[in-house]
């Protein structure tokens, strides 16, 4: 059942409105299916890092006796990390603070935007070189834009050594 009407402003053979609508629907459904067929797998593939499970591990940081009471020291360490297709030796460090027998490990990333902080021994301050964030010895914000105190890592003392828990 086809009829000629002026719907397309041409002299063409035009299908009945019912058939036009039905075919339009089928075309729409097929197109949506095709879009889903490509967008779905590609989104899952690109978004797969979101599903990656982080693995935690204990790292030996220092001998308890090597850290003087009241001091803050930067301790570097490295971990083998699965970095995409490769296994890489990633370098990290923490600022280890000792007060009597209590240890704290501050993450060196400024809580503002992640720049690496430096410790100024004389002023007893952690300074962020990027936007002027300042933290005290306890990691609390003294001035500048950082929204919260320095992040700390989980520690344990075992067999006379300080161990740090790190998730990568």
């Amino acid at each position: 059942m086809s009829e000629t009407n002026g719907k397309c402003g041409c002299d063409a053979e035009v299908e009945s409105p019912g058939k036009r609508k039905l075919l339009g629907w089928i075309v729409g459904v097929i197109n949506l299916g095709l879009i889903a067929a490509i967008v779905g797998p590609v989104a899952g593939f690109i978004g797969s890092p979101l599903a990656r499970k982080r693995k935690g591990t204990w790292i030996e940081l220092a001998n308890v006796d090597d850290i003087a009471d009241g001091s803050i020291e930067e301790i570097p360490f490295s971990i083998e990390v699965k970095d995409g297709y490769r296994i890489a030796e990633h370098k990290y460090s923490v600022f280890l603070r000792r007060e009597a027998n209590s240890f704290t490990a501050f993450d060196p990333a400024c809580t503002h935007l992640g720049c690496r902080i430096k410790y100024q021994q004389r002023q007893h301050r952690f300074i962020c070189p990027c936007h002027g964030g300042v933290f005290d010895d306890s990691g609390n914000v003294v001035s500048g834009p950082p929204p919260r105190s320095l992040d700390t890592h989980k520690l344990k003392i075992e067999a006379g050594k300080v161990w740090l828990y790190k998730e990568v």
Partner: protein, 392 residues
């Protein structure tokens, strides 16, 4: 009273009532949807394309162009996704493709879509070209549509040649060593040409980065421009219609032809998805320039050229590497001017049809010979051909 004193030069203060829906919308402060449509003219553009008149007799054979376009969009999408995980260095390429294939969720499927998609593109492109050839649709006024199509054909072959190296396994490496060596047979400048293509005397890190840059930057830019021009020309000169004009009135593109397009897309893309799932990609051993037990083989659609080289007697190599492929390419490019007949009917252009059939037969037989002689790889059949052979 003031209106009566107006002269023709004086502006009319009160505008006349709007006459078209567009004018009415302009004055009635349109909503966002109407405003966007007024500015972009999107709906008018869509309508114009949906209402495009098709000559009677246009049908399933005219769906191949749309399928090809959709396959290219799929290829582009999976390619971008793969590039996010790929590393173009001899140290990283193989490991990153291995990571994509065996470790990243959906990586095997996305890579499978890309690999099988490339084969599907070649198949559909050949069918599309053959349809236009036998229908004589390249004739006046569609000469440039054909020429641009032939250029797209060559760009796509360049895509598969450059993409083949990227996994940096034995198959990729040796196919590229042999493939690039073909340029060395060009008289006088051959050796320099090989260095220029490889980026070095030997296939190595610079070849990989060169091929990668071509595959993901240069060729996509060229392809995008050519496909845009091709589509513009198709719309400018419209679909050619059957060789013998059919009786009846023209039919608008929507809904019948678009419906046929959608059905073909469903099957075409469905087949690629099936192959990606049923024959997942894998990797051969890491490229080894010192390996002597590996017989280099190209992707199946280059097997015709490969076999041609094999059957050529010594001393006639240039014929297989440059002269015959070159003549076929140039012949295709100038086809609309080689074929002087006014009629599109095959009977009216017998020698062109004969030449075309000869070329198709040559490539077809050589490709088939190559496929049949492809050994199924002992490691489980990794190449597209090796995967395909058990089915035939």
């Amino acid at each position: 009273m003031a209106r009566e004193t107006l002269t023709p030069e004086s502006p009319v203060e009160h505008p006349s009532p709007p006459t078209t829906p567009e004018e009415k919308l302009e004055r009635d402060r349109p909503g966002l949807k109407e405003w966007l449509d007024l500015r972009l003219g999107w709906w008018g553009f869509v309508r114009k394309n949906l209402d495009e008149e098709m000559p009677p007799g246009v049908g399933w054979w005219q769906t191949l162009g749309n399928l090809l376009l959709t396959l290219l969009i799929f290829q582009f999408t999976t390619g971008v996704a793969l590039a996010m995980f790929y590393t173009a260095s001899p140290e990283g390429a193989y490991q990153s493709v291995k990571h994509i294939t065996y470790e990243v969720p959906l990586g095997s499927f996305v890579r499978g879509l890309h690999i099988w998609g490339s084969s599907a593109i070649v198949v559909v492109m050949v069918l599309h070209t053959l349809r236009v050839f036998f229908w004589g649709s390249y004739k006046k006024p569609r000469e440039l549509t054909w020429v641009v199509g032939v250029l797209i054909f060559q760009v796509i072959l360049a895509f598969s040649f450059t993409g083949y190296l990227l996994p940096w396994d034995q198959k990729a490496y040796w196919a590229t060593v042999v493939g690039t060596r073909i340029a060395g047979t060009v008289p006088f400048i051959g050796d320099s040409l090989v260095v220029l293509i490889r980026g070095s005397e030997e296939v190595g890190a610079l070849t990989l980065t060169r091929f990668y840059a071509a595959h993901v930057m240069i060729l996509p830019a060229i392809l995008l421009a050519l496909v845009g021009l091709h589509l513009y020309l198709v719309r400018r000169h419209h679909i050619a219609g059957p060789v013998v004009p059919q009786r009846g009135k023209p039919v608008p593109f929507y809904p019948n032809q678009l419906f046929k397009d959608a059905v073909v897309l469903l099957f075409g893309i469905g087949i690629v998805i099936y192959f990606a799932l049923a024959f997942p990609p894998s990797l051969e051993a890491l490229a080894d320039p010192t390996g002597t037990d590996f017989a280099p083989r190209p992707e199946w659609y280059f097997l015709g050229l490969y076999e041609l080289l094999k059957i050529m007697p010594p001393g006639y190599e240039l014929l297989a590497t440059i002269i015959i492929p070159g003549m076929i390419s140039i012949g295709m490019l100038i086809l609309p001017w080689l074929d002087r007949s006014k009629s599109r009917h095959p009977a009216a252009r017998q020698w062109i049809i004969f030449m075309g059939l000869a070329v198709i037969l040559l490539i077809g037989v050589l490709t088939l010979k190559g496929i049949l002689e492809t050994p199924v790889h002992p490691e489980g059949g990794h190449s597209a051909v090796a995967n395909f052979v058990p089915l035939t």
